[in-house]
């Protein structure tokens, strides 16, 4: 697993966290985040290759808040929701894994997120997402429906299968 880079939001915040020119030498992607937002509670999400079309993303989410469990889904939307209820000014841990990011198939991902607040409302979420596009992923953009606060950080890793050894497969 190779770290591409870690982005930490500076003073003043940021509307997005974005990587471009993602190396095409890996097989899978892993993004790990610790994020907080301004304003009211919101959802963090991802878009790929600057695709903002309301047709190319699907997701299916399961979330719980300690008393209630809810499942929501959207098809033909413009982003994949990764987690629910980013608490205002309180950090949330989130990660997603996206296999075969360079392969000419539609893309799917696996995401988890939890709020870090010891509060009356906090969410744990798992999400299945897809991007209906066979292009290799060369950029990705994280959004939060507002502003990522200072000290929010996200790390992008590539995972390679080059030189695989240690098992046989048939």
């Amino acid at each position: 697993m190779t770290l591409v880079s870690t982005i930490q939001v500076g003073a003043g915040g940021a509307a997005t966290i974005e990587w471009t020119g993602i190396p095409q030498t890996g097989k899978d992607l892993l993004v790990v985040m610790s994020i907080a937002k301004d304003g009211s509670e919101g959802i963090h999400s991802v878009q790929f290759n600057n695709d903002t079309a309301y047709a190319n993303y699907n997701y299916r989410m399961l979330r719980g808040n300690g008393s209630t469990v809810v499942s929501q889904a959207e098809s033909a939307t413009n982003m994949i929701y990764l987690g629910y209820g980013v608490p205002p000014s309180i950090f949330m841990s989130s990660a997603f894994y996206l296999p075969n990011y360079t392969v000419a198939i539609n893309k799917s991902l696996s995401a988890e997120a939890v709020g870090e607040a010891n509060a009356t409302t906090a969410y744990a979420t798992i999400t299945a997402g897809s991007w209906t596009n066979t292009a290799a992923i060369t950029s990705l953009k994280l959004l939060v429906g507002g502003t990522f606060l200072q000290y929010s950080s996200a790390s992008l890793y590539t995972i390679s299968t080059t030189g695989a050894t240690g098992a046989t497969v048939a």
Binding site: K27, D28, N58, S71, S75, K107, A167
Partner: protein, 161 residues
């Protein structure tokens, strides 16, 4: 220097349809394993399930929870396999299943497996599983309710301690 992780052990992309894929002679040098499956359906309903070391007996148990976009549910089951539970219904549907297999080489404990199944068009699911065997895992068979289509990918990674 940080300890390397997600070490690729083996990967296979199908060039012909297949009913199963088997990883064998798995190195015992790691702490945990992660198996990432991207199955493609040939037609109709298709799951991705695993068995260890050729064990086809009812030695696997699970607790799972799922959401389909409106309904939610949870159940506990005993089976003769660990379910991937990210079924796809057509070749155009994408999904992935991640099996995290902990302490796979230990010989003093049963094995625990965390499964995340992701089928964005139908289901998101997670399950905690146990294989009631103290044997070290040396092989993993991946199979399903139907056949895997060309292009299906299965990759096994070792996680260092």
């Amino acid at each position: 220097m940080p300890t390397p992780t997600y070490i690729p052990l083996a990967t296979k992309t199908l060039t012909a349809t297949a009913t199963s894929v088997t990883f064998s002679s798995i190195s015992q040098a790691y702490r945990d394993l992660v198996l990432v499956a991207i199955p493609i359906s040939t037609a109709g309903y298709q799951t991705s399930d695993i068995q260890f070391n050729g064990d086809t007996a009812t030695n696997y148990s699970e607790v799972r929870m799922f959401g389909d976009g409106s309904a939610t549910g949870s159940s506990a089951n005993s089976r003769n396999l660990i379910m991937g539970q990210a079924y796809v219904n057509s070749p155009s549907e994408v999904c992935n299943i991640m099996f995290s297999i902990f302490d796979y080489s230990a010989t003093d404990k049963h094995k625990s497996v965390l499964v995340r199944g992701n089928a964005p068009s139908s289901l998101v699911i997670t399950s905690a599983n146990r294989w009631a065997s103290t044997a070290a895992i040396t092989s993993i068979r991946v199979f399903g309710s139907g056949s895997f289509a060309i292009g299906s990918t299965f990759t096994l990674y070792g996680i260092n301690s």
